[in-house]
């Protein structure tokens, strides 16, 4: 039951990683702010996808 603690943080951290990667790539390629938004969106989607995988596995346990 203690493995449910990380579900909340696990939705936010990929968004933050996406943001950091987007800012970093924007500084290299100099494309303004476009890549930041794209990678932030990908990060949020990845957080949601990992949450869906965790819920499927919790359902499988019962």
């Amino acid at each position: 039951m203690l493995k449910y603690i990380n579900l909340g943080l696990n939705l936010v951290m990929p968004a933050f990683v996406g943001l950091v990667i987007g800012v970093f790539l924007d500084n290299i390629f100099r494309t303004g702010q476009l890549l930041t938004v794209v990678f932030l969106f990908l990060g949020i989607l990845s957080g949601l996808w990992s949450l869906v995988k965790a819920i499927i596995e919790i359902e499988k346990e019962e």
């Binding site: 203690l2 493995k3 603690i5 990380n6 943080l9 696990n10 951290m13 990929p14 933050f16 990683v17 996406g18 990667i21 990908l42 990060g43 989607l45 990845s46 957080g47 996808w49 990992s50």
Partner: protein
């Protein structure tokens, strides 16, 4: 209110690199304590255990049960790494409660990021040893090749979430203790509930770190 440093460390400077000296000294003291305890138990093993040895055996069986229910019989070879992780983080969380002038080494972002990076790199290495390199990287294209960037971002976010969770809990507890002992009128009475809470939080955070490491290992070696 002088002499209160929140978030500042005393530093050593060596060949142009800066080290946080109080964190390093705390980590060395914790390591020395654990090594001395391990050697003391090893050379006083008896068939009918005394008090200390039976406590250690109880903890051992609990950790082994947690590992076994998750990984089955392949899990026995990962037990030393996971148990060391748990014991080290537990002792270094609890060492801030003793009335010595020590700061727990996990209250520093460097320690927690180091532990999390070590865990993630070892998880990848375990997966590659178990399944072979090519089949291990096949895991990232699992449902559909469109999911490739999502899986990579999730793999990068795992060490970040491990380290930030541990650092946030322990550092905020230390800051609250510092403020309560430094600013309030009765500095020996008010921190008592926070000290009790910090024993619980230290144990829970060490257990959650170990549980997540076991979970990531099981996800890395799962396919047959």
């Amino acid at each position: 209110m002088e002499g209160m440093h929140i978030g500042l460390h005393s530093k050593w400077i060596l060949y142009g690199y800066t080290f946080n000296s109080d964190t390093l000294i705390s980590a060395w003291i914790v390591t020395a304590l654990l090594v001395v305890a391990a050697i003391a138990i090893r050379f006083t093993l008896r068939i009918r255990p005394g008090l200390f040895q039976s406590a250690i055996e109880l903890a051992f069986e609990q950790l082994d049960g947690t590992l076994g229910e998750r990984l089955g019989d392949k899990g026995a070879k990962y037990f030393p790494f996971v148990a060391t992780l748990f014991v080290f983080i537990l002792c270094s969380n609890w060492i801030g409660i003793l009335p010595l002038d020590l700061k727990p080494p996990t209250a520093d972002l460097n320690t927690t990021v180091g532990l999390a990076l070590l865990t993630i790199i070892l998880v990848q290495a375990f997966g590659m040893f178990e399944k072979g390199i090519f089949r291990y990287f096949h895991r990232f294209i699992e449902p559909n090749p469109i999911f490739l960037p999502l899986n990579i971002i999730e793999e990068l976010a795992k060490p970040l979430s491990l380290s930030v969770r541990l650092f946030g809990n322990i550092f905020s507890k230390e800051t609250i203790l510092l403020i309560l002992t430094g600013l309030v009128a009765f500095p020996l009475i008010f921190p008592i509930p926070i000290l009790a809470l910090s024993i619980l939080i230290g144990a829970i955070q060490a257990y959650v770190f170990m549980l997540l490491s076991i979970f990531y290992i099981s996800m890395a070696i799962e396919g047959h």
